[in-house]
Symmetry: D2
Subunit: 209 residues, 4 copies
């Protein structure tokens, strides 16, 4: 398989969505509102990970595009847990893609401790052979959730899903600390939002003069 050719529209989808979602953040910053989007990252799954996952999940290579929903991945990081719903609403209001699936691992966190809000988008990429719908996994998380998830992912990989009990325990404690941080931050959220509005308004008034 010519992976470069096959993955090109996925790369294109990721690049376009990054520009679009970063644009949302910029709009908030200009209009004196608290921005629910802290930053945006994206990636196309590395070929080694695609092969490994296809083998593990028994997905034939010619069915990758339908059955592996995270070949293209975009991640939105938020400052506060409460921002995640605001972002999900923004995503629902857009007309440039469809949402084909939605999973709330925040209300229903995984047994491992994993928390995150997932959406699968069907995003139309314009190729030189015409429009091609591309599946993209969108993850919305706080920075603390992301921090923990990155670490858990590395360990799952290392131990091929069989993390030793002692390490499992440390991971649980880290998950609790991340959760606690999100909680303390939430209590202070209203204050911070007001403060950010004051800063934005001041900058705005400078621009107008």
């Amino acid at each position: 398989m010519d992976w470069d050719v096959m993955l090109t529209p996925y790369k294109q989808a990721v690049d376009e969505l990054k520009i679009k979602l970063k644009g949302i953040r910029d709009q908030y910053q200009l209009t004196s509102k608290h921005t629910p989007i802290e930053f945006v990252t994206g990636r196309v799954k590395p070929v080694s990970s695609i092969l490994e996952k296809a083998k593990r999940k028994n997905i034939p290579l010619n069915e990758l595009e339908e059955q592996m929903q995270d070949l293209a991945g975009v991640r939105i990081m938020c400052q506060f847990v409460g921002d995640i719903d605001a972002v999900a609403e923004l995503i629902h209001a857009r007309t440039d893609f469809d949402i084909v699936e939605e999973r709330d691992y925040i209300k229903h966190k995984k047994r491992s401790g994993y928390r995150s809000y997932h959406m699968i988008l069907r995003y139309p990429v314009q190729t030189i052979e015409g429009e091609k719908p591309i599946l993209v996994e969108l993850q919305i998380r706080t920075l603390a959730m992301n921090f923990w998830a990155t670490i858990e992912h590395s360990l799952q990989y290392k131990y091929a899903g069989q993390i030793p009990e002692e390490i499992e325990e440390r991971l649980q404690k880290a998950a609790e600390a991340a959760f606690k941080l999100d909680e303390e931050m939430s209590k202070i959220r209203g204050e911070v939002q007001e403060a950010q509005q004051i800063i934005s308004k001041q900058r705005e008034s400078m621009r107008k003069n």
Copy 2:
């Protein structure tokens, strides 16, 4: 007027279209075909130029968005005159914007010597208040056309449209030289396209091994 706020969706449209059109070029390069897109630039009109043009054309500031069609501008440069039609076809085939106007200043060059292919697009930008259609001027030109046009634009500006005859003459000679270059290049186009395919195929076969 808060220009930053007003022009933000225009900036967004330019950024998105640049990513999209550069993506087209990358697709060609991967699939061993001659790419009709050499490079892509874009800009939002500077506020000083907006004000100057509004005054000159008698456009009230509250009708800018409908009446000034080049607040957002994107430019595609091509190697060969023959590539311009190929690009225009690609633009027609896309489903992510509408074409609201089309002017062929290549078949019908302006009296000044100006040659370029113009399209006005209506491009939907997703803002935090919902979808907003944005007019974008798309110019498609060869590098030689662009070179000359940039220079003519500077001189028109300097002489406020009243270029002295002697300079007008030099400008005409430069336009002829640019036209001649495009002609000579066209005669060699078939050869170059074949050559580029050979190079691309070789790189492709390396990637597969």
Copy 3:
């Protein structure tokens, strides 16, 4: 003052340092080592903040460049507290700028709860009038430190340094939660580093085939 002209070499310094420090991260990722740099951001201080700080600290505008050391700011975020020293060492080893000051607010955290490692660099920018040394403030922090600091900064700004006691208390609790998260993460660091090496090596071996 023409702020655009005055701040141009500061913007240039920030852009160059961002490219350079991101390059460091990429090198680690290629060579199968844990990267101590998670991501890099940078900014030139907004003019409104410069004016406000100049007034507050009594700095005459013609002495800004010597006395305001954070006109240009670059921030490196790390996954683990232990990575911060590794980054500081890397910075010391470089020959493309001088270090003129260094403050360790991690060993000696501020009374407010602020933790971060600061360096002031003297970075030579090549301008069209010759080489110009530019002061740049480099902050090195974990994600948890950064999270807390961002919030504290907003609140300091809102209350002009006089944060009410009740909010001060919530901020302290958030600082403790951030500290606790860093601590739990540190306990798991060795495991994660080994895991990341396994992943990198696998990708590397794929690239070579």
Copy 4:
């Protein structure tokens, strides 16, 4: 050989030089002077081209870094022939790299018709193992020179250096047309420079208000 690892500092050098040279252009635009730099591109030589050239020139793979001076390539395009000297002077004035070689194929154009100004730079990249000097080929050309050179390069490649006489002739005519365009442009240069200064000054005065 792990090409990704070997070429990483070359990619880094190209990225840094692109940011630096684009910065030069931005400085000119702000200070109301005609910018001698129209745009800047850069690339690391593709592995397929490295292997092909190594074979053709009999360079052992373990001597690539010393003997193949264009592994990293940066190109500066100018509007006018007269700008090329101005750029070369700017390059000489910089202190962030050494110039190890210089060839003027404009005063002494190649028999093929090739015109361009070449410099070989020794640019220090800061790697995680310390400073590493990297050779970079810098080409300075007008847009017309570049246009022609791109085409000639494709044809040389296709015919492995043995371009048929008939095509050779067409290429010569294109070279003459490119040269003629540069000549006509030079005659108009003074006018355009003055015009650009007027535009820049107007924008500058707007920024100050």
